[in-house]
Amino acid sequence: MATAQTRTLSRLMMAPAVIVLLIWMIVPLVMTLWFSFQNYNLLNPMMTGFAGWANYVYVIGDPSFTQALVNTLLLVGGVLLITVIGGTFLALLLDQPIWGQGILRIIVISPFFVMPPVAALVWKNGFMHPGYGMLSHLWRALGLQPIDWFNQFPLQSIIVIVAWQWLPFATLILLTALQSLSEEQREAAEMDGAKAVNRFRYIILPHMARAITIVILIQTIFLLGIFAEIRVTTGGGPGYASTNLTFLVFRTGILSNDIGAGSAGGVVAVILANIVAIFLMRAVGKNLDE
């Protein structure tokens, strides 16, 4: 039992770390807010002074803003769909007593250890390149015209790359959940004559619901900020076909040197991400309370 004294002591000892972390978070956030109301272009020192809402009006009025918003949601949704369904399937598969299970599990998990820019480069040049990618050789071998993935299906291609990276995470969490399911329960259902589909639907899936919720919540937070994969493969294009909010902020702030508008975009992105997070917590987070 912690006494009042030890509680005070522990608070005192934690304080420096908490304060440092708070400053770490607050300073950049406050600076972003400050810059978002300033006229500030790196290459044009004549642009100075208070800008009012001009930067926000400029960013939200960007012809690609709506598309970036839609792309962000499509990216998150697409990756979640693939990783949750694929992860459940893989978890079921890995839970079977098969030969070489240990090695198979390591192979399935390994994409998670690859850094995003490296993964994107491998997919771009090794697999999806229309000239010398593995897929184009496969297509040619089948007598078909190779597909120029990043130009014909830019957003879908990025979804595939990101899903490939996050699938191991989903699989791992879901497999752990699956392994915590009591063997007796399964056997009882089997003895009662329940078919595999029904066993999955009425026993396994409800048992995994919490784990699925965790996967969705954690992944959404990370997927809202996908950047490296887009930067390496399509550069947000063709046109704005694969520009998400993060990339739009990068384009405005860094490529165009417009720090003011870029900061405004950053603030807008943070607000929108929070709205999505709150919505998610309300909708799926209920699972965690039960």
Binding site: L43, Y58, P130, G235, P238
Partner: protein, 436 residues
């Protein structure tokens, strides 16, 4: 204590050492010529005692780094590698040290620098960056394929001829594309090429009142011609192809023609890298009969940011790297064909160079045909050929490049791309205060 004098002595020594050994931090781009310069630089250190700390970066990263550093007065670099876009803009902001010492040095011979290159790196008639190598653009083509198509390339072709030849040379069954052109989005990639092309069709980015001109018939003709040419005779996936991708395609024998930087001349004629080295010939970039060719002008150059604490040493280094002597050093080690091209008149009067470099004459002709102060058929308020020398262009060009790239990928029509380019540019120019 006995130890105290020892500490004091060591401290004094350390101070003295740091004062005498100067170290310059140099930011440069990872192009072959710069990497060679880095390899040769120990000679400079030996001669002057000045140590060099290299920061070698990929082009886009270099641009972002040096821009951020100079705009925030970071003082990270003593020498920066910049281009003809940055030099006059940064000079006007007072961010660069004028290279007056070099200009006054008779041995350096500033008058030897090619006039268009010197003009591109000057602001109010003062030189602010010294060219390391310079380039225009021209046509590289395959003699064998041209012959097979039954055509002869004139020294100064028109777009009409280029289109006809490209279509005649295309042989999809054998993976040969009549023409390879830049399609990758970016102000330094597809925008550079298409802007230079537009100049020859009589189009321009802005009229004299800074009004964007993408709704003009000249721009429509430019983009339609480009898209049709690429659809009929270009490689698949062209909207991801930039300079490096096209270089590889050409070296592998997959392009009949390639219109790009003159600096590629030595890469496509080098038998170690190019499978078609003995079949390559050169011609001037095409025109449309309006008096402007579609060739650009660019110079990778060395400049000193005002924030540098070691301006004199930096000047010494720039003098060494861009001098006539440096060309001789490279020639002695790697042969004349490998010297950094395009900067000095004397190089193009050197018979040995002209003989070993088959692209030399066409390079100098192309550079001389470029005039950054009068880039377009009609008068415009800006300088720069394949770019508009205003600070906002990097952003505007990035946007427009995306739209052109989307049109090439078939994601939108030429008309939509131009209409959106017009709207986006108008928006940005109004924000920047050029249009009221």
């Amino acid at each position: 204590m006995q130890l105290t004098p020892l500490f004091v002595g060591a401290f004094t020594l350390a101070l003295a050492a740091s004062a005498s050994a100067q170290t310059l931090t140099i930011a440069t781009v990872n192009n072959g010529d710069m990497v060679r310069m880095q390899g040769l630089s120990p000679a400079f250190t030996e001669e002057t005692g000045i140590q060099l700390n290299w920061v070698i970066l990929e082009e886009n990263t270099l641009r972002q780094n040096v821009t951020t550093d100079i705009a925030t007065n970071g003082g990270q670099y003593d020498v920066m590698t910049i281009g003809t876009y940055e030099a006059p803009i940064w000079a006007r902001q007072g961010w660069l040290v004028p290279l007056d010492v070099l200009s006054a040095d008779p041995e350096y011979d500033v008058d030897d620098i090619l006039p268009p290159v010197r003009a591109g790196l000057s602001y109010e008639n003062k030189l602010y960056a010294a060219p390391f190598y310079a380039e225009s653009s021209f046509i590289m083509y395959r003699k064998d394929l041209m012959e097979k198509a039954g055509l002869t390339m004139p020294d100064a072709p028109t777009w009409e001829f280029v289109g006809q030849a490209a279509r005649a040379m295309t042989d999809r069954a054998n993976d040969i594309n009549g023409i390879c052109l830049r399609g990758k989005a970016g102000w330094g990639e597809n925008v550079a090429f298409i802007t230079a092309m537009a100049n020859s069709f009589g189009a321009s980015w802005f009229d004299e009142n800074w009004q964007p001109q993408f709704d003009s018939p000249e721009w429509k003709e430019t983009l339609d011609t480009y898209l049709a040419l690429m659809a009929d005779a270009g490689p698949s996936g062209a909207s991801s192809n930039g300079f490096n991708e096209n270089l590889t395609l050409f070296q592998q024998g997959k392009c009949g023609m390639w219109i790009d930087a003159t600096v590629a001349g030595s890469f496509v004629t080098n038998p170690d890298d190019s499978t078609v080295a003995d079949q390559v010939a050169f011609a001037l970039a095409p025109d449309a009969g309006l008096g402007k060719r579609s060739n650009w002008l660019w110079a990778w150059s060395l400049a000193i940011p005002n924030s540098s604490q070691q301006k004199e040493a930096a000047e010494q280094f720039i003098n060494w790297a861009t001098s006539k002597d440096y060309l001789n050093t490279v020639a002695a080690q790697d042969g004349w064909a490998n010297v950094p091209p395009g900067t000095r008149t004397s190089l193009y009067e050197n018979a040995e160079y002209l003989e070993t470099a088959p692209f030399a004459q066409m390079t100098i002709d192309s550079i001389n045909a470029a005039d950054p102060s009068k880039p377009t058929v009609n008068p415009v308020p800006y300088t720069g050929i394949q770019f508009v020398a205003i600070p906002e262009f990097a952003g505007i060009g990035t946007n427009v490049g995306q739209l052109f790239s989307a049109a090439l990928a078939g994601q939108m029509s030429a008309d939509d791309a131009l209409a959106q380019a017009q709207d986006a540019t108008l928006r940005d120019m109004t924000r920047a205060g050029y249009i009221k």
